[in-house]
Symmetry: C2
Subunit: 225 residues, 2 copies
């Protein structure tokens, strides 16, 4: 039995009334699978044939490295979906092995049935499309950012983005330490680059206020990479 009041809190079924959910699920095949603590939910590398949603308890994804040892873990609590981004596409295999942290219930909807759901309910379709699109956009932005090789390029891009087209100064909302982590560099290295850019007359930093003195030049740092 599905507790629909839990389900609608998941990003997928958000905004769909309990009753509507009930009606939807009455029209498709699905399973509610129960797992004991430490039971394996899915093996990494297995083909993704079902959409899983954690209904109760929690599960963890474990990366298995090439030599067979488990490494990183990520916890997934109810009512989050599992590997929703890997339901479709070319490589629709689970990237990780998923294990139950404690007693857990998972909703398993076969891909074909999920497709039916998507075609029956516009809100669900929108939710799903939004979630994987947002993910793709996030990845795309991150990738674009990582394409800048030097710290100077990363900083220039960040500053221009923060300022936007209209403004020339703005308030920093993060410490250098946090920025350095975002950029994947060390804090002294970031400070050095910021210092250099000040000496070169590109920017001015007073407390938390950054002023871009030469947007033109900052831009050319990006293009000539």
């Amino acid at each position: 039995m599905i507790d629909y009041s839990v389900l609608v809190k998941s990003p997928l079924f958000h905004g769909i009334p309990d009753e509507e959910c009930r009606a939807l699920f009455s029209k498709i095949h699905y399973q509610v699978r129960k797992f004991e603590k430490d039971a394996i939910v899915v093996q990494g590398g297995e083909e993704v044939t079902n959409l899983f949603v954690v209904l109760s308890g929690s599960v963890r994804g474990e990366m298995i490295d090439y030599s067979g040892k488990t490494v990183k873990i990520e916890d997934i609590e109810a009512p989050r979906p599992l590997a929703a981004a890997f339901l479709f596409g070319k490589e629709n295999k689970f990237p990780v092995t998923v294990t139950a942290n404690k007693k857990a219930e998972l909703l398993a909807i076969p891909v074909v049935e999920f497709l039916k759901l998507l075609q029956m309910n516009t809100r669900l379709l929108r939710n799903y499309l939004n979630s994987i699109s947002t993910r793709a956009q996030f990845l795309s932005q991150k990738l674009h950012f990582l394409s800048f090789k030097t710290i100077k390029e990363k900083v220039a891009h960040f500053l221009l983005q923060q300022a936007g087209d209209l403004y020339h100064s703005f308030e920093l909302k993060n410490t250098q330490q946090q920025l350095a982590e975002m950029f994947g560099v060390t804090r002294p290295s970031l400070a050095r680059v910021l210092g250099d850019m000040q000496n070169e007359g590109l920017i001015k930093i007073e407390k938390k206020t950054v002023t871009l003195l030469d947007k033109e030049e900052l831009n050319s740092l990006l293009k000539n990479g």
Copy 2:
């Protein structure tokens, strides 16, 4: 008028018979917009309210930088869709300004109408989901790869992936120059790292055959990053 024989060659409508396409489009609102050479199809930053498919001619996407100059361009020929990945999600704005290279015809389907299409035709839904999922997976893999900072880590990851879980040796299908470009490093730097790894007894390279001598150690290079 839409030439359906062109349309079904696009990844989105692939596998849907002409007749079925015709029937689908008879049920929704859409426009076929004509553009003269150098006419602006969409402004960068504009909200994406339509799915565009190039029916004839070709268009180009132009990045506009922070100071207002155009930079990179990418050509899109018929029958490719335009910014299909930005139809949904949080930031559904065109990342680029799109201009017609020559006389061009574009099919414009409002988002709401496209949703109807997706709900009417399972094949189309599958096509669309597959295309954005594949894209997301591609980005995800690329991102994971870029998360390795040193050349050594990148090489270790590449070698372990190529060999797979079972094998310990394989044939290189690329030249060092090509690999170096994949990794975003210079060729001598890559050669140096490969040489070091041989000296350390991690791998052995004979002509195009690579043998992994110490998978365990190669793995630990990745985890201790």
